[in-house]
Point group: C2
Chain length 273, copies 2
Amino acid sequence: MGGSLALALREAGYVRQVTGCGRSQENLESALKLKIIDSATTDPAKAVAGADVVLLAVPVGNIGALCKIIRPYLDQNAVLTDVGSVKADVVMQVEEAFGEIPANFVPGHPIAGTEKSGAKAAFSDLYKNRKVILTPLPKTSPDAIKQVQTMWEKVGAEVEQMSVAHHDKILAATSHLPHLLAFGLVDSLARQKDYEEIFCYAASGFRDFTRIASSDPVMWRDICIHNRSAILQAMDRYQIDLDRLRQAIESGDDDALLEIFSRAKAARDEFAQ
Amino acid sequence: MGGSLALALREAGYVRQVTGCGRSQENLESALKLKIIDSATTDPAKAVAGADVVLLAVPVGNIGALCKIIRPYLDQNAVLTDVGSVKADVVMQVEEAFGEIPANFVPGHPIAGTEKSGAKAAFSDLYKNRKVILTPLPKTSPDAIKQVQTMWEKVGAEVEQMSVAHHDKILAATSHLPHLLAFGLVDSLARQKDYEEIFCYAASGFRDFTRIASSDPVMWRDICIHNRSAILQAMDRYQIDLDRLRQAIESGDDDALLEIFSRAKAARDEFAQ
């Protein structure tokens, strides 16, 4: 996420200097080699010193600890933003780390990404024509919002604002739930005795359906932990609907099956246009 | 399915004459125009008269009725095969229509396809390097098996044999279940009040995950009805595993979540290679 934004901002000529910070020296070296970043460090304190904008692109479970580390080194006017798939919990972590929600903190979430991670997976078109959701809080500085919005617009994204709670509910339904269903299916099959044969006869539909099950396990563990209540609500609603579908199959209810599949196809076809 | 096979067989120079049969005059005209078929008819009796090989490519619920229509017009040596995603029920329908299982009937299922239907969606590469499963019965003629196998190999497919029951169990897990989960998710979301907004923030992961929910509703209704018991077994197993995942989220069990996601990612990464 961070690498693709850095690449795109450099291509757009919108940044003077990008410092990459990460735990893996190897990944940082790849990022330098690929000219994604100008300088690299494994020390978050050094990374943020003198920065105008600080982008937190880490699993959402690490936001609080990272904020505690960087807090003393942040410039007073530095804008702080993130790319976390969960917003309520990230806001809570930031608030706890700073003692209050900093006026220059703009919670953000680009609706983009692939199942791959690391510098080598970065590409500058990732955010083109994609939506970025900002969930500013009552005390968030309008200037900080504008800076973050402009940054995302420079890389081709369409920026929208909504409340923290609304974001978490929408994303639980369209992103977190599908990821869990895909992870769940692949794991369920992988634990069966004849799983190698099962996968051997899987077709392109299965490949697409399960692509998101190749996503980073740590990132998704954190999302589950930190968006728990919205995710449980989405799962429970889905389980009820899946049970209804199961009943229709069990009772051989042709009409109910055709109705469910037709409504789904119509909605999916409309979405894909 | 039929159109793509016809195209590929013509490109391979393996067929003299292909007659297309369907209910939609418009679709048949497209097929003629696109040179997928040499001649067209909406009358199955005319379509099979004089044919060396008859391929049944219809929703699995229509196999029995279609066999009853064509039975009197089939050449004695004509090889009969199908492309149905379900085998036990298709075999039963054929047996009922003919009074016994014809020795020249070779149940088949190419593990390929897209979510699109009709002549315009046909392309000759569809079966290249894909698996085709044949599920011959004890009385099936070895010559008929060989003819069907050669036909599929001519279009680049890899042909394998297995039992009817094993086929239905494997396909329930890798194809039927994912389709139901995708149909179920899109329908579940589409019935929510704010569904337009929900879809509006869906990303590429959602797009891939739900692609199969654009599949033909009639075909999938038939698959559910005609592979009911294997599908219910696969669904029940999945629901138990999904419940376990739900429990791990509810109880905040980091380790269990990481274990499930890591195992799934490893299996999916291996499958995708």
